[in-house]
């Protein structure tokens, strides 16, 4: 029998989309900044996300540090590991050809996969295990932690927007994104900014990992789909357009929730495993039909 969808189901979908979108936006935003400035691919991104999450889990659940220091430790370890990635697997290569890090970071992602399996094992790890306290808004159930994560993501993105658009440091960053050589010839030390940008992307990646570890469970198998989703957002957002990538990250995550959350034609649900097809379809669609993306940027077009 066909059953009409209840308004509460749509509200639940919206809440789920907001949660998943916040996570995707955090990761894609940092990566879009790196891509905008250096034009390099960091295929170990998903692993760096998980590394930040696992570090927080280890500090909180194994070392038994309070949550806040564990989160700060997780962010710091995400940043440090990303810095290490930049110095060893990106910096020596991208000056020769900006596609070389595509290969070196794939190799590094495999090493990180192995390391995390060895250190943290395959079973799911949660930073805050146990039942979470939920409440209902307009028929949608949402936990306190999820509300905090959505709000913190917004605060992080707004703070980033302020620095990027309103400060002297942000102007220098944008100058490097838009015309690296002109920025250099004005005396802006872009080599230092390249490092800073990579490390900032690592903090955002670490924050994404902590988000996963608090909202769900951490598992080493999550890494590659996270990388793919972030790149889908960058391609669809217009390569080099940071706010376009963040918007598309919310969009892709929202469509993923719609795909698996709607009772299609009152007849069937799409299995959860097909969620990833949304990001892959975005990549195929935009590369084939609109390579400039939704919000094409003049700063980087390839």
């Amino acid at each position: 029998m066909r059953r009409a969808a209840q308004p509460s189901e749509y509200m639940q979908l919206l809440a789920n989309a907001l949660i998943a979108g916040s996570l995707a936006a955090l990761i894609a935003g940092g990566l879009a900044l790196v891509y905008g400035v250096l034009g390099v691919f960091n295929m170990a991104l998903g692993q760096l996300v998980l590394f930040g999450g696992y570090s927080t889990w280890w500090l909180h659940q194994v070392v038994h540090l309070p949550l806040i220091p564990s989160v700060l430790g997780g962010l710091a370890s995400g940043a440090l590991m990303t810095w290490f990635t930049f110095e060893i697997f990106v910096n020596p290569f991208y000056k020769h050809h900006r596609f070389l890090p595509l290969v070196t970071t794939i190799a590094w992602s495999m090493i990180l996969d192995g390391m995390m399996l060895l250190l943290f094992e395959e079973r799911p790890r949660s930073i805050l295990p146990g039942l979470k306290k939920t409440f209902e808004i307009q028929g949608a159930r949402i936990s306190v932690e999820q509300c905090i994560l959505i709000l913190l993501t917004l605060v992080a993105l707004l703070a980033f927007a302020y620095v990027f658009h309103r400060t002297s440091f942000g102007r220098k960053l944008r100058a490097v994104v838009q015309h690296d050589s002109a920025a250099l010839s004005l005396g802006i030390n872009s080599a230092v900014l390249h490092r800073v940008i990579f490390i900032v992307s690592g903090v955002f990646a670490g924050a994404g990992g902590i988000f996963i570890g608090i909202d769900q469970n951490l598992s080493p198998t999550f890494a590659f789909p996270l990388t793919i989703k972030a790149y889908a957002a960058i391609i669809a957002g217009g390569k080099g357009n940071i706010w376009g990538a963040i918007f598309c990250a919310y969009l892709i995550a929202g469509l993923e929730q719609v795909l698996v959350g709607v009772h299609w034609f009152g007849a069937f649900y799409v299995p959860a495993g097909y969620q990833q097809t949304v990001a892959l379809l975005f990549i195929i669609f935009f590369l084939l039909l609109k390579p400039s993306g939704l919000f094409s940027s003049q700063s980087r077009t390839a």
């Binding site: 220098k172 944008r174 100058a175 838009q178 015309h179 250099l184 004005l186 005396g187 003049q298 700063s299």
Partner: protein, 244 residues
Amino acid sequence: MSILSTSHLSLSIGEHRILSDISFSVESGEIIGLIGPNGSGKTTLFNVLSGFLKPSTGTIHLRGEDITHLSPAKRAGQGIGRVFQNFGIFREMTLIENVLVALEALPKEERKNRGDLKKLAMETLEMVGLEGNAHTKAGSLSGGQMRLLEIARTLMSGKELFLLDEPTAGVSPKLTQQVADLILQLKKQGKTVLVVEHDLPFIGSICDRVIVMDVGKVVLTGKPNEVKQSKELRELYFGADPTT
């Protein structure tokens, strides 16, 4: 006094010799035109002078100091300003931000001496008549306006030596005159200018000296009139005269 001198500069990439044994010096306050057919190495020479390419051999001295191994940012800090052939402006930033970012990149001490940077940025735009567009994106400007913005920005960032790469390319005749006036204004302020250009009348009207390049070598130097009448230049652009 010589502000810039190069000694036996050469650049090879693989087996290709791009620049070969280039030696010249530029006096402070001079405007030097750099001309030659496409592919003669003019822009490559600018890339070597501004630090984007490292020479295979030879040295570059700025005010007597060896800068051959300094990075582009450090050379900018020493007073070399560059205006790019393909417009070195930040297209998605507003005009005022374009100038402001150049002022903010100055060393801390110099920044302090400049006072209110926003006011100074606005004065820079007034100098080239672009103050009405201060809050629009630089990408919406015409080619000539972009060029004026870029030169004015470099001027206000306190550079002493200007490397201008085809400043009249894609610029309307009216704005070309404004670009020429701006370059002459630089000279009045005691600045030194090296300008790569294909527009020979433009070069003739503003330059003190002209350096002619071909296949990575300096083939001729002299005053604009001497160079204009030289047989070598005619041969370079139109080929050898078969009747002689």
